[in-house]
């Protein structure tokens, strides 16, 4: 079983990995790879929402600083994910998990519920990210295509992130 300290170190390591992804993995203008929403989802439930938002903000800002993105873009997109984190877990994984402040995992909760949680977190993150990145200069169909492609591409990365950060797996 992973300790909170291990989770913290893994989290920082994954932020560094995300910086590399942002800097070196540009497959297409339609695809943005990010496992940050899944990482925020995995912040232990013992951490309250306010602190989770601060962590998410710092994570996003660090990624922005060390990548070629517009400063504040990841931070802006990630804070709402942290705000909605407990509601998403309560909705898809269960009330008990939140009440007992337990962690969730594929093994305990099933792939479907965890995937739904990831999908919703990614939807929030990419919706804000793509709209702000385009700044009204791109057509709606482009933004929707980019949203779908990015969510699909990032899903795999998110599964890996949750696997690494989940204390149960």
């Amino acid at each position: 079983m992973k300790t909170n300290r291990n989770i913290g170190l893994t989290y920082i390591l994954m932020v560094i990995v995300q910086m590399f992804i942002c800097n070196y993995f540009h497959f297409s203008m339609y695809v943005t790879l990010s496992m940050l929403p899944a990482m925020v989802l995995c912040i232990p439930l013992s951490v309250n929402t306010s602190l989770a938002m601060v962590i998410a903000f710092a994570t996003g800002l660090a990624t922005d600083v060390f990548s070629d993105a517009v400063l504040g873009l990841n931070a802006m997109s990630l804070v709402p994910v942290a705000l909605a984190r407990k509601y998403i877990i309560r909705t898809f994984i269960g009330e008990e998990t939140v009440e007992r402040e337990e962690s969730f995992s594929f093994r305990k909760n099933g792939l479907g519920k965890v995937s739904a949680s990831i999908a919703l977190c990614e939807l929030i993150f990419f919706a804000i990210y793509i709209i702000m990145d385009g700044a009204g200069t791109r057509p709606v169909w482009f933004n929707i295509s980019r949203l779908c492609a990015s969510m699909a591409a990032s899903y795999i990365l998110s599964l890996i992130a949750i696997h690494m950060l989940s204390s149960e797996d």
């Binding site: 929402t49 922005d64 873009l73 931070a75 802006m76 700044a135």
Partner: protein, 345 residues
């Protein structure tokens, strides 16, 4: 019911969220050129909407003042038109010879025998006593005036000769004096409608003066106090207006039908007169109250009454439900004319 601790927690979360998102937004705007442009465009759009709405609200609240200003401007322009029209008339076309009018009626010193006659305005305005049926009375008035002044046809009438001692005032055109006014209260849903006007005796208003707009004769002053006047609306069975078909046609009596505020009937048009639907009806000027040539409405269907005259439906131009600014008009020779009528009777 949420506990106090929960409420504080929600407020804290909301505050942290707002602070972090604001910080992130500021960073994005300052570091992204596109985002900056987009944001500024949004801000400008928002500001223009806010300013537009604010301006609309301000405009709405200043409408009364603006309306009053426009009414005053309208009155000034109309007075110029009336003066020009009066000058044209005195050029020899109205039976008053070539004399010009400069009677200083604005001094208010002329006696008016109609004062105090407000108790029965309908009779004065429309009845056989009050209404000028034809032009002969005008001719009589001119003869009496010439007798008094010792002048003959074609002789110019000046101030001294008329005895008023003042030049034609800015509110006087021809033999009529005009006073702009605003309606304070008006009734439209009764059979005997009335209006309260914000000008009274101290403004020079006298009973038996007409109340007009550019689109009709709307009432007759019945009684006056120092600052207000009570007028009988045209939408009243007791009131009639002497009207003419076109500017040169036959004259008759226009009376409200009592059904709605825009319909009237023109009675007494001889049956041999050709009348077409859509003809304009004007004031005849044969009344001592209303000046001639004020458009009143357009003709509609006609009916033969007793085999001798037409009764014609008229759609009025003036919408009494929107009536607000009016002009009070008084005939400065009215006293003299009534005196003459008294002599002839």
């Amino acid at each position: 019911m949420p506990r106090k601790g929960n409420v504080i927690s929600y407020i804290t979360v909301a505050a942290v969220f707002i602070v972090l998102e604001t910080a992130a937004t500021v960073m994005v705007i300052y570091n992204g050129r596109l985002q900056n442009t987009w944001f500024m465009k949004g801000v400008h759009g928002f500001m223009s909407v806010v300013w537009g709405k604010t301006e609309s609200i301000r405009d709405y609240f200043s409408l009364k003042k603006e309306n009053a200003r426009l009414a005053e401007e309208n009155y000034t322009l109309l007075m110029e038109l009336r003066k020009m029209a009066a000058d044209d008339r005195t050029g020899g076309s109205d039976g008053f010879g070539t004399g010009t009018w400069a009677d200083g009626a604005g001094d208010g010193s002329r006696s008016r025998s109609s004062e105090g006659a407000g108790s029965d305005p309908a009779a004065k305005a429309a009845g056989t006593d009050g209404q000028w049926k034809d032009g002969t009375a005008m001719e009589k008035a001119r003869a009496v005036r010439q007798r008094k002044d010792g002048t003959a046809d074609g002789v110019e009438w000046n101030v001294g000769e008329r005895g008023s001692g003042a030049a034609e005032g800015p509110d006087t055109a021809g033999r009529y004096r005009y006073i702009p006014a605003e309606i304070g209260k008006i009734s439209n849903n009764r059979q005997h409608n009335y209006m309260i006007i914000d000008k009274g005796r101290k403004d020079g208003v006298q009973p038996m003066s007409g109340v007009i707009t550019r689109q009709g004769a709307v009432g007759i002053i019945d009684a006056v106090s120092d600052h207000y006047s009570f007028a009988i609306s045209f939408c009243n069975h007791d009131m009639t207006v002497s009207a003419r078909l076109g500017r040169e046609g036959a004259t008759g009596t226009l009376v409200w039908t009592g059904t709605d505020t825009r319909s009237a009937t023109l009675d007494g048009i001889p049956h041999h007169i050709a009348v077409s639907a859509g003809d304009t009806v004007f004031t005849s000027g044969f009344s001592a109250i209303f000046p001639p040539d004020i458009p009143l409405g357009t003709t509609g269907k006609k009916r033969l009454v007793n085999g001798s005259s037409f009764s014609i439906d008229v759609t009025l131009f003036e919408d009494f439900r929107r009536l607000r600014y009016v002009t009070i008009v008084s005939n400065i020779d009215k006293g003299e004319i009534e005196e003459l009528e008294g002599l002839s009777e």
